[in-house]
């Protein structure tokens, strides 16, 4: 079925509906066409080194699209060869840091937003890409996504992904135990209690990875304190000692007291927790929309299971300042061009072309919501996808993942504290205090 749902403009603090421009209908595409390069004298052969993190084994769809786009680009530009290097996420991060310290970055590579990007920009390793965004290309992006990659009003990467985090739940388990989607936090606790009494694990959580637990804390912080409480604590206009944020930390421990999370969650990875949810051993699972293919199009997952998965918005907290349409999320990886690349022009062209093409194919072919606007009239998507895109339409705010907002050292403290908070090794007050110390040390 096709539904008219245009992904709207979105700012990380407030969202306004805009008429989208029918994505990709931009004739002023920055990639030059084959005719133009044919008129030029024979160009010297150049090679663009491109490093990405979607191996064929673990991300086959992503990998295939990347390869396709590259071969098309090479066809349009016969003098350009794109050399690939592909690494897994964690190795990718390490390698990027190692090669950057010896100033041997690939010409084009992938980076995360905000806190991750900062040291690279300060070290003048990434090239500003604002010239690529001229000719209206800027307007192809969902408003607000580029900002996450901008420092001092210059954009250093073009986003390829945009995610929000819904609470996925197993409708079969909900029906079996007669619970409905919780509207408020109190309902939520009741739902949890009902499931626990029935001997069902309410929530799958792999908190060894720590950012997974951070999502829960962020939602409580948003629902209790509104969209700005956590952001202002991070940007120092507020504080983690804010009683609303302490209340959010208390909420987490209350959930732990109610046995909301799977036993041994602090020792489980996100993958292990996901497996429990996928096997029907847990009723709920909070994760980014990047997981949507598992519940829609992934043929390796039994059809019956996929049909039984739906999502709900994190419930409101009574008396809280947050809006049920506030989301936690943000852009994932984006493409950068190295500042000292000797093929900068070609690299910029490649990045622009890649981002645009990626936007056209990623949702349908890999289930990735791109950073560029999607015209849902032109794509054939499962209902669950359309619902998430609609929610993106109605979002009142999107709070960028906390660990992404923070500098890397503060993020490490935050993630450790999340684990301690969930493991009841610290009190909510200590949790706040440790954050404050880390933020002060960082200034």
């Amino acid at each position: 079925m096709k539904k008219k749902a245009l992904i709207p403009a979105l700012t990380l603090s407030a969202v306004t509906l805009l008429a989208a421009c029918g994505g990709g209908g931009n004739n002023e595409a920055p990639a030059d066409d084959a005719a133009a390069s044919a008129n030029e004298p024979a160009q010297e052969d150049v090679t663009i080194d491109f490093m990405h993190l979607w191996p064929a084994g673990s991300s086959p769809d992503h990998h295939r699209i990347v390869t396709d786009i590259i071969s098309e680009f090479e066809e349009m530009h016969p003098h350009v060869t794109v050399e690939l290097e592909v690494l897994e996420n964690e190795q990718y991060k390490n390698k990027l840091q190692v090669v950057s310290s010896s100033n041997q970055l690939p010409d084009v590579g992938m980076t995360w937003a905000a806190g991750f990007l900062e040291p690279y920009v300060n070290g003048e390793l990434f090239a500003p890409l604002d010239d690529v965004l001229e000719d209206g290309f800027r307007d192809d992006f969902v408003a607000g996504t580029l900002e996450a990659y901008s420092i001092n009003d210059q954009t250093y990467a073009l986003p390829l992904e945009l995610n929000i985090a819904p609470v996925f739940y197993n409708t079969a388990i909900f029906e079996e135990h007669g619970v409905s989607v919780p509207e408020t936090y109190d309902d939520f606790l009741n739902t949890i209690d009902t499931l626990v009494e029935a001997g069902v694990t309410p929530i799958a959580l792999g908190n060894r990875d720590r950012w997974t637990g951070s999502l829960w804390y962020m939602y409580l912080a948003d629902r209790i304190g509104g969209a700005d409480a956590l952001n202002s604590a991070i940007d120092r206009s507020g504080s983690f000692n804010d009683e609303r944020l302490i209340a959010a930390a208390e909420g987490i421990q209350e959930m732990v007291e109610h046995d909301a999370f799977i036993p041994g969650f602090n020792g489980l990875s996100d993958q292990e927790a996901k497996a429990e949810f996928m096997n029907g051993n847990a009723a709920m699972y909070l994760i980014g929309s990047w997981d949507l293919p598992n519940y829609t199009t992934n043929e390796e997952v039994p059809q019956e299971f996929r049909d039984s998965i739906d999502f709900f918005k994190f419930p409101e907290v009574e008396g809280g300042e947050g809006d049920i349409n506030g989301w936690v999320g943000g852009p994932g990886v984006g493409l950068f061009v190295a500042e000292n690349s000797d093929v900068k022009e070609e690299s910029k062209e490649f990045v622009a072309y890649f981002t645009e093409e990626w936007g056209k194919r990623s949702v349908e072919d890999a289930g990735v919501i791109p950073g560029t606007q999607v015209n849902t009239d032109e794509v054939d998507l499962p209902d669950l996808f359309i619902s998430v895109l609609d929610e993106l339409n109605n979002a009142s705010s999107i709070t960028l993942f906390a660990d992404v907002q923070m500098s890397s050292s503060v993020a490490e403290t935050h993630l450790n504290m999340i684990q301690s908070l969930f493991g009841e090794a610290v009190t909510p007050e200590e949790f706040a205090e440790e954050h404050e110390n880390a933020l002060q040390a960082d200034e």
Binding site: Q97, Y120, G123, R210, P263, G267, L268, E412, Q419, G423
Partner: protein, 289 residues
């Protein structure tokens, strides 16, 4: 004369590789340790500031304590390996088969072992807890998420991983002891225990010393299995020096400080090795058979 030249020529490649891959990085690490550097941008010289920070860094001492515990634990487990080797070397039936069984973990990579033990320790589906619940234990331990036991839960696979390695060394050493010695002792009426304690162990004292040094060094710089299984968590309960160093350098972009921790670790290992050698250097007289 040409001999010396030839010798120099032959040793040069190995020496170069050693220099470039081991000694240069050590010097660089020492150098980075004196810098405030995020590993990406410009460096600032801060002298010994990283080291003074290290002395008051609670997390560092906590991870150092965990590393030392692991070292003690590993040295303790050498006794177990030695006992097994003594039994195997005394020509029991099936000794060869058991030697092969003990060796299997050595053939697996640490990551594979970590994955295997993650499944054993899984809180609900793991072999361990399935067994415990089947014999009527209501709430079996949550091996990897309980901060009070996670460290020992991790030590067990490490012991298991290295068993084969040490057993091979001990076994070979024990097999090298001439059989006449044991026969003579038997004729004199010595019990098997006396033979082991009074004859065999003194004869392989040199090998034992080497294994103690190896076990201690290996423990102090141990990293891979912990990184995969718990990532130092929960809340740093299984953080060791090497994993902490890794986090500083690669996660918090504190490359200078991470290098200081790395260099400190190197110095610590050198000191500990020296102390062990000093402590065990008393009876260096060669055994005459």
């Amino acid at each position: 004369m040409s001999d010396k030249r030839v010798i120099a020529l032959y040793t040069l490649p190995a020496l170069l590789i050693l220099l470039v891959l081991i000694y240069v990085p050590i010097v660089l690490t020492a150098y980075y340790g004196l810098m405030d550097w995020d590993g990406i941008g410009a460096m600032t010289f801060v002298g010994l500031e990283n080291y003074t920070a290290l002395l008051s860094d609670g997390m560092f001492w906590r991870s150092a304590y965990h590393s030392l515990l692991l070292a003690l634990f590993s040295v303790g487990s050498l006794v177990l390996y030695l006992a097994i080797s003594l039994i195997l070397a005394s020509n029991v039936k099936g000794a060869n088969l058991f030697r092969k069984i003990y060796l299997i973990p050595m053939l697996l990579s640490s990551v594979a072992i970590a994955q295997l033990w993650l499944r054993i320790y899984h809180p609900t589906n793991g072999v361990m807890n399935r067994f415990l619940t089947s014999v009527g234990i209501e709430n079996p331990p949550l091996w990897l998420s309980d901060t009070s036991i996670v460290l020992f839960a991790i030590f067990i696979p490490i012991i298991w991983q290295y068993a084969g390695f040490y057993i091979i060394i001990y076994y070979a050493a024990l097999k090298n002891i001439p059989a006449e010695l044991e026969e003579a002792a038997k004729i004199d009426g010595a019990t098997p225990f006396q033979i082991a304690y009074k004859i065999k162990l003194p004869l392989i004292a040199g090998v034992m010393k080497v294994t103690v040094v190896l076990a201690v060094i290996g423990s102090l710089k141990y990293f891979d299995l912990i990184y995969v299984m718990t990532d130092g968590g929960p809340s740093g309960a299984s953080e060791v020096m090497a994993s902490y160093m890794y986090k500083l350098a690669f996660r918090t972009n504190d490359f200078g400080y991470g290098s200081a921790v790395g260099f400190f670790l190197l110095v610590l290992i050198l000191i500990v090795t020296y102390l062990i050698r000093r402590a065990t250097a008393s009876k260096e007289d060669q055994v005459q058979y």
